[in-house]
Symmetry: D2
Subunit: 138 residues, 4 copies
Amino acid sequence: MYEHLTTIRVRYAETDQMGIVYYGNYAQYFEVGRAESIRNLGFTYKKMEEIGIKMPVVNMEVKFIRSAMYDDLITVKTILKEVPTDHSITFFSEVYNEMNKLLTTGVVTLYFLDASTGKKIGLPDALKNVLQPFFSED
Amino acid sequence: MYEHLTTIRVRYAETDQMGIVYYGNYAQYFEVGRAESIRNLGFTYKKMEEIGIKMPVVNMEVKFIRSAMYDDLITVKTILKEVPTDHSITFFSEVYNEMNKLLTTGVVTLYFLDASTGKKIGLPDALKNVLQPFFSED
Amino acid sequence: MYEHLTTIRVRYAETDQMGIVYYGNYAQYFEVGRAESIRNLGFTYKKMEEIGIKMPVVNMEVKFIRSAMYDDLITVKTILKEVPTDHSITFFSEVYNEMNKLLTTGVVTLYFLDASTGKKIGLPDALKNVLQPFFSED
Amino acid sequence: MYEHLTTIRVRYAETDQMGIVYYGNYAQYFEVGRAESIRNLGFTYKKMEEIGIKMPVVNMEVKFIRSAMYDDLITVKTILKEVPTDHSITFFSEVYNEMNKLLTTGVVTLYFLDASTGKKIGLPDALKNVLQPFFSED
């Protein structure tokens, strides 16, 4: 398993007139969590695109448990439970507030696509190499 | 069952550098679909808040099948499969492009809350009255 | 002079916890106004990009006079005061609510760029041809 | 004069299909810059609202010089040139990329309003007290 924590300060723009973060904006928090978790491995999603791989989202499930509020310093925990074995990767996200209360959980699945052909491909070596150490048996 | 169709023109702001609509923005399309489906019943979500009811989202599931593109005139089909029997309501959404291809499906569940107490309440009469005719047996 | 009106329903997502439309979201309303004003001429911004022209924004000025609120059906008036004579085009926008009160004014200037070279170019013929009739002397 | 620097990582959500940050999203970067510059004084915009003061934006001017790109670690410099002497405050913003190139400049003016009456008020003491030291003559 590979886990990574990143913090985000909630912007005024992200709130709505209910006085809480608009439900659609958590997708951005999950995105930031994914990007920072990959950066922490010594790779970046930006480089992924530069080597010709696109990663569109194909599925998202979100549970909204408590509300995030303006100016909250939230923590996004991003979890990879296994090394992808096919053309998709699934990130589990948990969003916590400063009192360590769980606000939201998310499960987001993305495909690996060859940007030039648009076809599905397996886990790119560049990502596999940095992920493998976290999942080796011994 | 109650179904309603509404159309939305995809904005440039809603695209990302992959050249497609950013995955987080479908939550807004679903929101527009819900709001217009309620308006079509002769009620509005705005009035719901004015009579003291808040409806936070508690769950969302989205499948991304095909991409929506800039300037697409998408159709959001919003479906209520049953009259709510407790403190929650579930909207099913389907997003189609101009070739009538299914792009995205969404399932969004919201709670009915008393805005002054924050407590869950049952289906408000104002909504029940306009919904009932679509679900009567005969 | 060329003027065009388009209407937009304010989304919940576009409000903030002050209970009004977040100031940054007017840029999207201006964008919709520009796109629809060009579509009304029988051309589209989408086609502009397809024939190899990009139009990045280089300047924006916004005055916020009154607030737009959730569910308001706002009208965006988009005005072209003159046919561009160089590599830039300036759109004047006025946003009104349903009581015809002026909410916001915007002035947005964009460049015409050749997408392949990134260099500034003059007013594209495709746009000039549809604009000219509105500015002819007699 | 009071200046403050804060950094922001550009999100994928903030890009558009031109491959650059959508022009409307800079308003959010300016907002983050303002919020962090106030936090750095030992106060917060959140507390401002808690003591009954709202600060709606009344004017914004933005010059777009170079594009910010996905994953750029941009720096927002937020500048207060003078202590407000009436019911408004003006923040000057400059956005730089990692090569220290100036991307964007912004000038945003906000009003101080009494949240309960909606009337304009002068500079709140809570903000004046923390700002004054930066503007004293000697």
